[in-house]
Symmetry: C2
Subunit: 434 residues, 2 copies
């Protein structure tokens, strides 16, 4: 029982998952948390509501890993077979757990609901397993040790129940190897491509380096993951990570905007608040996505005042005061430096903000031309202090990707200015007109 | 080789997936496509960049399923081991495929790039496997038959390469059982809860019914999945599905907004276009999310004119013309029926649209009170024809969920009106003030 937990597997259970009707996000989340605790996940398996296959999966994994964490299949219906599967994998039988039954009754009573007849099955457990309290739902979890010494945790599928139970029950019982520390850190970048970043990181990315540095890209944000895995303990391991982080920050400057848990809009709102500045937006092709990003940050009202969605040309004139001649036949048109800049200046005047971002572009799939292909986007910034910037981008991908990237690029552009790096070029930027 | 494909497994390969750094979406997508073709997926497995483990996984699954579809591990770097794993699972050796090499060279040349030295490894294949052409990237796929007769497809990991290759190579070679038809259909609902819908569906949801009816809920949209699995062929099977669909539509009316591939904003834009109507938005707590939803629809400019993001009280007055006394001490306040209605009427007048939606609420985490707890959201609709509706909702979940639900509820409310069901109550609605 004092066996050390070096490696783990995660198992997701449910017909809706295996048939592809629902995307499983529990497996990724659990693997990330296990790694943070120093336990490396070797395999994820998703199986349907099939007790024989679940039990077979547990038995197979038990001979390969030290810990198995399952989610799903603990509900009260005939489809919920994880209790039975665990008993079968253990060669055990199910018994009623009185404490679980009392907790289930109390859970329903606290919500003013009568206990459904099938709730009692949720109090069953293999006789040699123990129940794990669930304070966010009616299904207790299960904990057992299989014949091979492999420990199994079974948690409910809904993430709002699974996550707190994982933190409470699983994290507390993990015994990562005392001879080996795993420490990870993440830095997020925006405005630089993954291959450019890799070139800047150079030897830092060698596979045999420790701490190891890797990059992943997701929806425009490129993240550097720094991972130390070795014999150093506590502060010594942290110091190794610190040193590598400093090198990564230097190599990736000025594009690093934050660390784990920080978002691009969150950082922009924080910088604005720190400087006592407010921001407004004037959006055409993004139709509100930039405002939506800024207001996803709790407390954004301290810095975000409002915006204008000038989707039609008429609205660009009437709401943002864009000169009608810019949009008329023979003028530069709605997707141009002139119009973008006029939108930003108009918003600055009409919204009463200190900084105003404007976006106008061609998100497609239609509307492109040879001179202005789909993906052409102008982003402008106008500030009360006289700050002005206007850049043309050529975004890739489909309509959704072009719009998403445009809204983030506007945030990234403002961030570079607020960080004193307003001159730095950005990924997909093709020209600038200051 | 004439073996029928009844069941399949999908395998996702990559350290970034198994360690939980990246969320795998390929597995769900492939399982969904396989089911649509009549092949049921029994298991998903995710493994790291480890040739022995990949080969072991293929061999294990080969004795359990008829088809394996892998994604990932076909790139040119030292981490990309799927070619080797497949050869090992087959007991075969790798040889260079001349056609693949020519295609790889052509792919780089077409992009004006020189062929990197490590690209040649992508032309390797097991001697008894065949290469699958990839027109969206440099990595060819692989197809082989394992000793057990199980067929294996290996596709690249990036979805924009994997998906077209799946359609081209995998779908064409599937041989679903001729004695058994699998047909699925999906109907999407908004404004009704999953348990309410289940109660309305009643006996339609019995597990032994064929076609089977199930529900899944994702971000406010509740979907009914109808699946026929049985001996009927072609039109006869389709007729069974049609009959069940009609029953589901009747039970779920007026909340069914569309079928597979349709989205709530897409349906709303389509209804507006059909009626020759335009829409505008005035958003407070959603900060642009409603505009963003409407404009995600290609061609939305035919119906969506623009909007006002009145996040601060000052903007509610200056942009939307909300009477200042509503927001003053002793007035009903920013989150009230009066203010929501004034925002909608102000937007209608100032945006020049036929219908205007307004949203004002408390998204949290701060700002709630006993009288107006976090999640309190008023949604108003004003139309040129004199249509007015104003409803109070109590949304659940965190800030993100409250905002997301609010933007969708506004769309759902407009849809009900456009469908002639403006009186129907909606999920989470607590009161209405017409």
């Amino acid at each position: 029982m004092a066996r050390v937990h070096e490696c783990a597997a995660v198992v997701s259970v449910g017909d809706e998952l295996v048939l592809g009707q629902t995307l499983d996000t529990n497996g990724r989340w659990m693997a990330d948390r296990l790694l943070a605790a120093g336990v490396v996940v070797r395999e994820h398996v998703t199986v349907g509501d099939d007790a024989a296959r679940q039990a077979e999966t547990m038995r197979r994994l038990a001979s390969r890993v030290d810990v198995i964490v399952c989610s799903g299949g603990l509900g009260p219906t005939a489809d919920d077979l994880t209790r039975l599967s665990l008993a079968s994998a253990m060669g055990d039988e199910l018994i009623a757990d009185d404490v679980s039954m009392a907790q289930i009754n109390a859970w329903y009573q606290a919500r003013g609901r009568s206990v459904p007849p099938n709730a009692a099955v949720q109090a069953l457990r293999p006789s040699r397993a123990s129940a794990l309290t669930n304070i966010h739902g009616s299904a207790p979890g299960l904990y057992a040790v299989l014949a091979e010494g492999c420990e199994v945790f079974c948690l409910p599928g809904p993430p709002r129940e699974m996550k707190p139970m994982f933190e409470q029950h699983v994290m507390a019982r993990l015994r990562p190897s005392p001879d080996r520390t795993v420490l990870t850190r993440v830095l997020h970048c925006f405005g630089i491509g993954e291959s450019d970043l890799a070139a800047r990181l150079g030897a830092l990315m060698h596979r045999e380096r420790n701490p190891k540095v890797g990059t992943t890209a997701s929806e425009g944000v490129v993240s550097c993951r720094i991972r130390y895995e070795g014999p150093l303990r506590g502060e010594d391991a942290a110091e190794e990570i610190d040193k590598t982080e400093a090198l990564v920050r230097r190599a990736a400057a000025p594009y690093v905007f934050g660390a784990e848990g920080q978002t691009l809009p969150g950082v922009v709102i924080e910088m604005l608040r720190d400087k006592g500045l407010t921001v407004g937006v004037v959006e055409s092709c993004t139709g509100g996505m930039l405002g939506a990003l800024l207001t996803e940050v709790p407390g954004s009202s301290a810095a975000f005042l409002g915006g204008l969605l000038t989707y039609s040309n008429e609205q660009k004139v009437s709401l943002a005061g864009v000169p009608r001649e810019l949009l008329a036949e023979g003028g530069p048109g709605a997707v141009s430096a002139e119009t973008a800049m006029a939108m930003a200046r108009g918003g600055l005047a009409r919204l009463g903000c200190d900084e105003c971002l404007a976006i106008t572009g061609i998100a497609g799939p239609g509307g492109g031309s040879e001179a202005k292909p789909v993906g052409t986007v102008w982003i402008a910034l106008a500030g009360k202090g006289g700050r002005e910037d206007c850049r043309r981008f050529l975004m890739g991908g489909d309509r959704g990707a072009i719009r998403d990237w445009s809204a983030k690029a506007a945030l990234g552009m403002l961030r570079l200015h607020l960080a004193g790096a307003g001159d730095a070029p950005m990924l997909r930027q093709v020209s600038a007109r200051p």
